[in-house]
Symmetry: C2
Subunit: 226 residues, 2 copies
DNA sequence: CCATCTATAGTACAATGTACCATACGACGT
DNA sequence: ACGTCGTATGGTACATTGTACTATAGATGG
């Protein structure tokens, strides 16, 4: 019995010699290629559209070959989620001291990245702690500390920002998926006992980006009073 | 062809005469009973534990009989989610003018209700607009308006509170499910490039309720400055 | 007494994740 | 040269799932 089930397979040890990069004609079938293709598939067909068979088809490989590189379908989901969330940092800061702008940039990028792949929001509730997410948490922690937030408050601050972004993203993505439902729901409001939100057109106000920014400002205002 | 597929079945028209309430020995098999049993099953076995067959078993009925009362499994999920979220209001307000306390109470109840049924957080990303959720939104809208929040800000305020609660709940529930993973992740922090959050023990701080309340205060502070 | 509605259930099928097995190919020790 | 082993690929088979289709039975009303 060779070591098989062990999280991350041995896989790529070291090229014996020449670093020829893939004849490009065909399929070396790597972990990276699998994840990239999974993301494509998810973008195209949604969460239910990803099946191991379809994935293998797109890769031009047999279904079971995938299982050499990944442990399970769940594993593919985890990897796909994290792959969507890497962060390259703010665009050559004009004003590197402005912690608030930096935070806002990262959080808006975060949300935008996930909304570009709406299925990612549905995956969040499962396993959220890939390396890219940890990287973002680390960065937030650094920014907040150097911005002078009290050590005792820093964790709470991180979590509240995280919570806000996650909630906004999940909500936005789900309303996006079921656009018709939302309209239908707003319809129902009229005929039933929801007069206040019916009048304020809560479900029809489509300025999501603005609302996100506004709420984030509320939160940051509250934060910077410490 | 009888009218069959039409959202809510005809079902209970009106009792012809005597209102005998169920001989209680056996199964009238109603929509309500199905949903209640589904919630039990979800509590006991988690999201993947709910299958139509198991559900039928628990109800002592045939599988296909369920489909007379519900449209699909998705439908069951929607109903189960909403059923967890009804709200009975604050406990005979001592101080009915205190809008902030009222908001906090409702949001904490909201979060607590979902955490009692951790699967509910995973369902949120799908379809979030059942009657009970709408009821809560309605109530929030009323409170905020009467608290003097500017009309232009009220929708944004609602959404930011909603976002915060949803994010906090989703996060908390997912970390709860994968407790071991979290510890493992914190382990990994040490050996890799996340010095800041490793030092602050971000993933090990288990005072979730406190953190929730603290972040909520940040947000409400920011809100009440308008 | 026949028609129609309400409700329950069995059978059957297509789709899915993946365990198990067979196989091929290169590297390497002897 | 030959067998052995690790890497990698893929086929077959199976249990499990949601649900379409169909049959059936009681109740109701013309």
């Amino acid at each position: 019995m060779a070591a098989k089930r062990s999280g991350a397979r041995g896989k790529r040890s070291r090229r014996t010699s020449e670093p020829v990069q893939e004849p490009s004609g065909e399929s070396p079938l790597s972990r990276e290629r699998i994840v990239a293709t999974a993301v494509d598939l998810l973008d195209a067909q949604g969460l239910d559209g990803l099946t191991m068979r379809r994935l293998a088809d797109r890769l031009g490989s047999g279904v079971m070959s995938l299982y050499w590189h990944v442990d399970s379908k769940e594993d593919v989901f985890d990897l796909a989620l994290d792959s969507v969330l890497d962060y390259r940092g703010p665009p050559e800061m004009a004003e590197p001291q402005n912690w608030r702008a930096e935070i806002v940039h990262m959080l808006e990028d975060w949300r935008a990245g996930m909304l570009r792949h709406p299925w990612s929001a549905s995956l969040l509730p499962r396993r959220a702690l890939g390396p890219n997410i940890l990287g973002r948490l680390e960065r937030m922690s650094k920014i907040l500390s150097s911005a002078g937030v009290a050590d005792a408050d820093v964790n709470a601050a991180i979590w509240s920002l995280w919570n806000y972004v996650m909630g906004a993203t999940v909500t936005r993505a789900s309303f996006d998926l079921s656009d018709g439902d939302r309209a239908a729901a707003q319809q129902r409001l009229a005929s039933e006992r929801y007069p206040t939100i019916e009048r304020s057109r809560l479900l029809l106000d489509n300025d999501w980006d603005g609302a996100f920014r506004k709420g984030l400002d509320f939160l940051l205002d509250g934060l910077s009073r410490r």
